[in-house]
Symmetry: C2
Subunit: 396 residues, 2 copies
């Protein structure tokens, strides 16, 4: 043993080595009784028969002190709920029923990298999605990753191909904190093509896993991992997911945990957007179109507000409704006298005459040989309306 | 006069010729007092000074009997709330405040075509959107138009370029009823490039307008027209709309009238989808991805239900959770003995042994020289799960 260890911590270390991540039998018992009595029961062959039988072989093979010492030599630490950097967000998992037979608060986490897990997830966005993403999806994921990073908010993802990779890269490009949560040990690179990406994240960000060092990724470990991403992140954004995508599992955890769930839409003709569209339709996921909207959704009110696209501000926007009505009745090419404009506008002649004066000053109409002509609107140079106002205004 | 006419009807005919469509001063007075006293007031120069002055010139020029006779010779009819084919849906407009200075129940409508307006709008979908639509948008609008038509539901739109045209064409291709609501007279083709389209709709469907025959389209008439589309249709779908698109005006009317408002998403990188995304975000428009979802949204429960995309059903979906857990622990290439699989799966050896038997029968594993190997899943030949079940299931 590298140092004297608290018995609860040591029991959690052993359970972390022998149990499957997110096994609800184990996480449930530990939440109820604590790790020490659970480990005793498994060792003493007295209770929990099936679980004991299942884990007996692994328990015999477990070398906790060696594993921990080797991990620590490689810069990997094991943290439990007793540690300062344990994020309270993970405790939410004790209130949610298992999904696909995975669930509960993790017994411990293995971490690698300079960031503190609690700080790096305090205000954070998870971006998840299809491994077989389209160019569109990876572009949007990268842009969201960068925008989140530039706001100093952490980007959490799973380091997989496609959307995960693009979002981590975006966050790294934006020089922001990024956390990769893996289904395998934090010392392994999965997929192997992401060896350099993961090494870089370990240098500047954080890699986390419920699976012990050396563990290979398996399907149930991906399922267990997905719940951690959803629990750690303040909000989860799904960018592209086919109807059977694993990203939807993460989304369901976010929904179940009452975390902010967001989805980026795409063409309805794209199979990789179908799952996202279903989330927006059926799970009430918030439709988001860029990083600013993501930040707005996860933030306390007003911290990251979005200036929505307004379209060009036209000079006609700046005149009164009545003046616009007159303007609409002014012909462009041949022009017309004010009496004829009054008839077309359905307004009294004096009203039209004074409106035409204002419109001439604004540069929207011009008087040529006694006939008023409309002038193409060159646009205004005034600032756009403040956010939330006039957003859904229009020119027919 | 072509025939003896009820005084209210005749007063509405005159007001239809002299008033601007959707002028809330006129529609409000007529709703309150009836058309006869309003027309008297305008004629007798006693009340409503400004409105009277504005309409005086048009009133002097109005030739109602001639206009009606000429219209009827051309197959155009004038209908008022007293007519059987007047849809009650239009009366909803009396409860909603004007938008952009247009509002109220129309004083009368001019119709051209074999369909009855009440029947043709009883169960109907409006599809509206950008005139400068993309190939993506016109494709989706056409598909929705066709799906709606094939279900025998009417397709309402505005016969404009882009989304409008594509949706009408889709409905005509689907041999369903289609209604074009215009901002100009029903005898005019606007845009002129749609002369043949409108002639065809007049032959098999219906063209409707609040503006009298001969009237040109103006901006305020488009605004007035948009409210009719929203009121007539059971639900309105916006397919592509930039942030200043006129289609958003129709959407706001649908929202204000508490009609079903739907939006088709698109790439977040496409300017013509921005307005739709804002509707889904800010106006709670329902995200729809195809005609089936549109029909489901406007229908009484169960009439048009959607079978959502399920993805391929895999053989692994058909085995128990425990058998899947064993399967996940079976290596693909070199294979492994059952004891090693049991350790990897975290399950007792007897459980693993019996699970491997089931998996071998299902064709998911094979025993080669005493080692179990996983076989690529060829997919099942059983039917997919019923709608609503397993939709958000996944393979990580």
């Amino acid at each position: 043993m590298t140092r004297a260890m608290d018995p609860e911590r040591r029991a959690r270390l052993v359970l972390s080595l022998i149990g499957e991540p997110g096994d609800p039998r184990l996480t449930g018992l530990v939440a109820e009784l604590g790790a020490v009595p659970v480990l005793s029961a498994l060792t003493e062959q007295s209770e929990h028969g099936e679980l004991r039988e299942a884990l007996a072989e692994r328990l015999r093979a477990a070398r906790p002190d060696e594993v921990l010492a080797a991990a620590e030599r490689r810069g990997i630490r094991f943290v439990t709920p007793a540690d300062d950097e344990w994020p309270t967000s993970l405790d939410l998992l004790s209130h949610v029923a298992p999904l696909h037979d995975r669930g509960g608060v993790p017994i411990g986490l293995w971490l690698r990298g300079p960031l503190r897990l609690d700080e790096a997830t305090q205000e954070s966005v998870a971006v998840v999605g299809s491994r077989s993403a389209t160019t569109y999806g990876t572009r949007v994921a990268g842009e969201i990753g960068a925008a989140v990073a530039e706001a100093g908010v952490s980007l959490i993802s799973g380091a997989a191909f496609g959307i995960d990779q693009a979002s981590h890269r975006g966050a790294l490009a934006g020089r922001g904190p990024t956390v990769a949560v893996l289904a395998c040990g934090v010392d392994r690179a999965y997929p192997t093509a992401h060896t350099e990406l993961l090494a870089y994240i370990a240098d500047v960000g954080l890699i986390a896993s419920e699976a012990a060092p050396g563990c290979a990724p398996t399907k149930i470990r991906f399922l267990a991992r997905n719940r951690l991403i959803a629990a750690l992140a303040t909000g989860t954004v799904v960018v592209e997911a086919a109807v059977r995508s694993g990203a939807l599992n993460t989304a369901h955890w976010a929904h179940g945990l009452s975390r902010t769930l967001m989805g980026v839409p795409g063409p309805v003709t794209s199979a990789t957007s179908q799952g996202v569209h279903q989330l927006i339709r059926a799970r009430n996921a918030l439709l988001v179109t860029d990083g600013a909207e993501v930040l707005e959704a996860i933030s306390v009110a007003g911290e990251h507000t979005v200036e929505r696209p307004q379209g060009v501000v036209l000079r006609r926007d700046l005149v009164s409704a009545e003046e616009r009505q007159v303007l609409d009745a002014v012909p462009v090419s041949r022009g017309a006298p004010s009496t004829s404009i009054a008839r077309a506008a359905g307004l009294p002649v004096p009203v039209v005459t004074s409106a035409l004066k204002v419109l001439a000053e604004t540069g929207l109409v011009v008087l040529v040989s006694g006939r008023w002509r409309a002038v193409p609107d060159p646009g205004a140079t005034v600032p756009a309306a403040p956010p939330g106002q006039g957003t859904l205004d229009f020119v027919p």
